[in-house]
Amino acid sequence: MLPPFIILLNMKKKIEIIMKRFTQSIIVLVGLSILIFALTRLMPGDPARLALGPRAPEWAVEQLRDEMYLNEPLYIQYKYWAKGALRGNLGISLVTRRPVAQDIKEFFPASLELALFTGIFVGIMGALMGSMSGWYNNTWIDNVIRVIAYIGVVTPPFVWAIFLILVFSYFLELLPTIGRLTAGIIVPPKITGLVTIDALFAGRLDVFFDALKHLILPVLSLSLGPLSQEARITRASVVANINKDFILNAKICGISERKIFFKYLLKPSLIPTISVLGLDFAGIFAFAFLVEKIFDWPGLSRYCMIALLKKDFSAIVGTILVLGIVFTVVNIVVDLIISFLDPRIDLERGR
């Protein structure tokens, strides 16, 4: 093993790189906020009039415009917004009429719970299916998994959602249709906002399993697509690596197949899988809105979609910014994991 001081040097270098990436991310996010800010205000339509409806008197609409600084020039509006944002005030949503920060705080954990369970499921099943497919490539196992994967990749999540509801909720009546918990169950005290985790903290196993039951269909709907994609990517990666010299060398040395697979093959093969998994995880926050609508899941994606459709400025900028943060953080984490899996990859240049 490496002497301790080299490990420390390595860590210091890694931390330096992380800080550099962090600073870069801040610049990207500021740029994103300016871009989204300008875009929303260039869209046609008067948000104040839209929010109050056609019958509201002109003075009430004007009052709302003043409250939102809509009559000021663009850079002044941005200035007010930026000042507020630094203090955690992202403005008031025109749709919910609440602080956007409060809305996001309420909807983010629901999306996180969905993304977390989907990510875990996709990661494990995708890697498993893909590596089985790759290891036994061109056998019947491989062919079956590939067919399933193709179906999964072309079918959008909301089609899975409708199909699963029909089968499990409508015909078989096994699983609930909407919501995060069955009506009447006493909700555990909110610590993280993720009902499953909060239930475990509170020692309420019945709530935990009830929440899990409500998670099954939405998670399945969201995972089947990415799962197939992950499986295919993993398979390709495994197949590519399986013919490499170091595997051949290991086989010749008489190392057992099990050991070759889990110790030597899996780590490098999972690199593209992890990259895509990261993007899929972040993507759920942004793109799960149809699934959230169908399952009445109070998530960020649905909130964002409604804000976009109703031209809710503050909510649009606030949620896009939060989504930007999610994507940036996930990217950094993914790069870290990959550099751990394959030290040859230069973290700094992200190769």
């Binding site: 019958r55 008197p57 919910t96 009506a183 009447g184 399993f209």
Partner: protein, 545 residues
């Protein structure tokens, strides 16, 4: 062997155990006697913010009480106000309040609360505030007497009061935060968003904003509530067809939302125990609104030609389904509707005859008709396509554009950007023909998407103001009749169908007066919890079949 069989077997066994354990957990219903209705979320339960949208009126009259209550004919009956009187010129309305009505916190409802509610509504200016611009001031005469001074004579004032509910002054003032209303802070807007300060038959119990609104029965309501009325009333915020169908079949939803498509309602109606309830209380009429100032729709003969060419039968039977063809601008159940108004029918000969009298007859190619419809509405797309085909039969060219809602409202706010035709319906502000006529054709209410005719007709403006200032109902309805004839003669609009609101409901185990025509024909009033009855035993029977 890479994948150890024993390990895979153990993992699968564990997963199966967890899954079956998960399945075995079922939650009991919070309350057996619960009524669940679906709507599109975004419930604004603050009376000064929520307007006429379904998701605003659905909870409003459960949580709050109005001064006067509509009966099954839409006429005002005593509610919080025991009696009232109007001055001879109908500018001063005095209301004598019932004593002993309690808000949900136990305090008594008095004239102070009525004045506070009106002042608050007018100060905030949203929701139904536009109906009360006519109110100059509110005066407290004594503890249980309050009067409204109107700016001028306004005959249908009582009908507008169906949209006015009473908020507790004390509860609101105890819960104000920082805001733009001077010493009144935010006027309780923050608090009333998620709590109620009302006296109604139901009270807010839980309100996770994006999921549902749960209300519970008010045990101290001033009127008796039958024991079969729901103990809990839940508004579920989902309108996805699959979700609605699944919930209703599993008997987890009692009343669907108002926006389900014809196909979904057909499927629901064919399900055992589920029927479709319909009503015309929105007072709306589906129309093609023609811009009377932009060529070629600025020519009355051109417009009449189009009115003769539309296939009303197909539109009503196939697109709108289960309703009747409109007769003029007022829906047939709205008080003041004139049944003698002329009704167009498809007649291509008459159409061509009118077209030949129009100045654009020989230049039809140079003057295409632009039709913009709301891209998000599937029914409007069907309407547009049929319209193009109908007009092609007489040689009129129509250019259709699916326009996003946001853009459409922007376009309709100025004459220059308004297209020749838009299709929509506007709900009546209150159950009165004059309300619809004023909203749809008055110069003062032009410049928004609920008008596209740009009539700007001073004769009409004078006529409608005169009508609204006529205190005698019969005289006033006669004037409304004249106005309806006037409009139909001018032909600024093609009237298609009376808007029918259709909802699926559990006919087997809920009792809904609406389906027996015994509910007030005013939106929101037909779903007040104290009129509906729920029978959990019948629900169980159905589920156990």
């Amino acid at each position: 062997m890479v994948f150890c069989k024993k390990k895979i077997f153990l993992i699968t066994l564990c997963l199966l155990l967890i899954t079956s354990y998960t399945f075995s957990f079922g939650g009991a219903l919070a309350s057996e006697r619960i009524l669940r209705a679906a709507c599109d979320g975004d419930c604004k339960i603050d009376p000064a913010i929520g307007g006429t949208g379904y998701n605003a009126v659905l909870p409003l009259f459960n949580l709050y009480d109005p001064l006067v209550f509509p009966d099954t004919n839409g006429l005002p009956t005593p509610h919080i106000a025991e009696s009232w009187e109007a001055s001879s010129d109908s500018t001063l309305w005095t209301f004598y309040l019932r004593q002993g009505v309690k808000f949900h916190d136990g305090s008594e409802l008095t004239a102070e609360d009525v004045k506070f509610s009106m002042d608050r509504l007018k100060a905030i200016g949203e929701g139904s505030a536009y109906l009360f611009e006519i109110v100059e001031s509110t005066e407290i005469l004594d503890k249980y007497t309050v009067s409204f001074h109107l700016k001028n004579t306004f005959a249908p004032f009582l009908s507008t009061l169906y949209s006015f509910v009473i908020v507790s002054k004390d509860i609101v003032l105890d819960n104000t935060k920082e805001g733009p209303y001077g010493s009144l802070g935010d006027y309780g807007k923050g608090y009333l968003q998620f709590n109620d300060a009302g006296s109604g038959p139901y009270m807010v119990k839980e309100f996770p904003y994006a999921e549902y609104l749960l209300m519970e029965k008010n045990p101290n309501y001033f009127l008796p509530i039958d024991s079969n009325c729901p103990d809990e009333y839940k508004l579920v915020f989902t309108i996805e067809p699959v979700t609605i169908r699944s919930l209703m079949s599993k008997r987890e939803l009692e009343i669907s939302d108002i926006g389900q498509s014809t196909e979904t309602l057909l499927a629901l109606g064919n399900t055992e125990g589920i029927n479709i309830a319909k009503n015309y209380s929105s007072g709306g009429v589906w129309v093609y609104a023609m811009n009377t100032k932009t060529p070629p729709t600025d020519d009355i003969h051109f417009r009449k030609a189009m009115a003769w060419a539309v296939d009303y039968q197909t539109t009503v039977d196939k697109i709108f389904v289960d309703t009747i063809q409109a007769r003029g601008p007022v829906s047939h159940e709205t008080p003041g509707f004139d049944p003698t108004v002329f009704q167009y029918y498809r007649d291509l000969d008459n159409a061509i005859e009118e077209l030949q009298q129009s100045k654009y007859y020989d230049k039809l190619d140079e003057y295409p008709v632009t039709l913009h419809y709301c891209a998000e509405d599937k029914d409007e797309a069907k309407m547009a396509l049929l319209f193009v085909s109908n007009m092609a039969d007489i040689g009129i060219k129509v250019e259709v554009t699916a326009t996003p809602w946001v853009v459409l409202t922007e376009e309709c706010s100025s004459l220059e950007s308004s297209p020749n035709i838009t299709n929509f319906y506007a709900t009546a502000p209150y159950p009165d023909a004059g309300a619809v006529l004023q909203l749809r054709y008055s110069s003062s209410t032009a410049k928004n998407w609920e008008q596209n005719e740009w009539l700007l007709d001073s004769t009409f403006d004078k006529m409608i103001v005169d009508a609204l200032s006529t205190p005698d109902d019969d005289e006033r309805y006669e004037q409304y009749g004249k106005l309806q004839h006037y409009i139909v003669d001018l032909c600024p609009t093609i009237f298609l169908a009376d808007v029918v609101i259709r909802r699926a409901y559990q006919a087997n185990y809920i009792d809904w007066p609406l389906v027996r025509d015994e509910a007030p024909p005013v939106e929101g009033y037909d779903t007040i919890g104290r009129f509906l009855k729920v029978y959990p035993e019948k629900r169980s029977e159905l589920l156990n079949k």
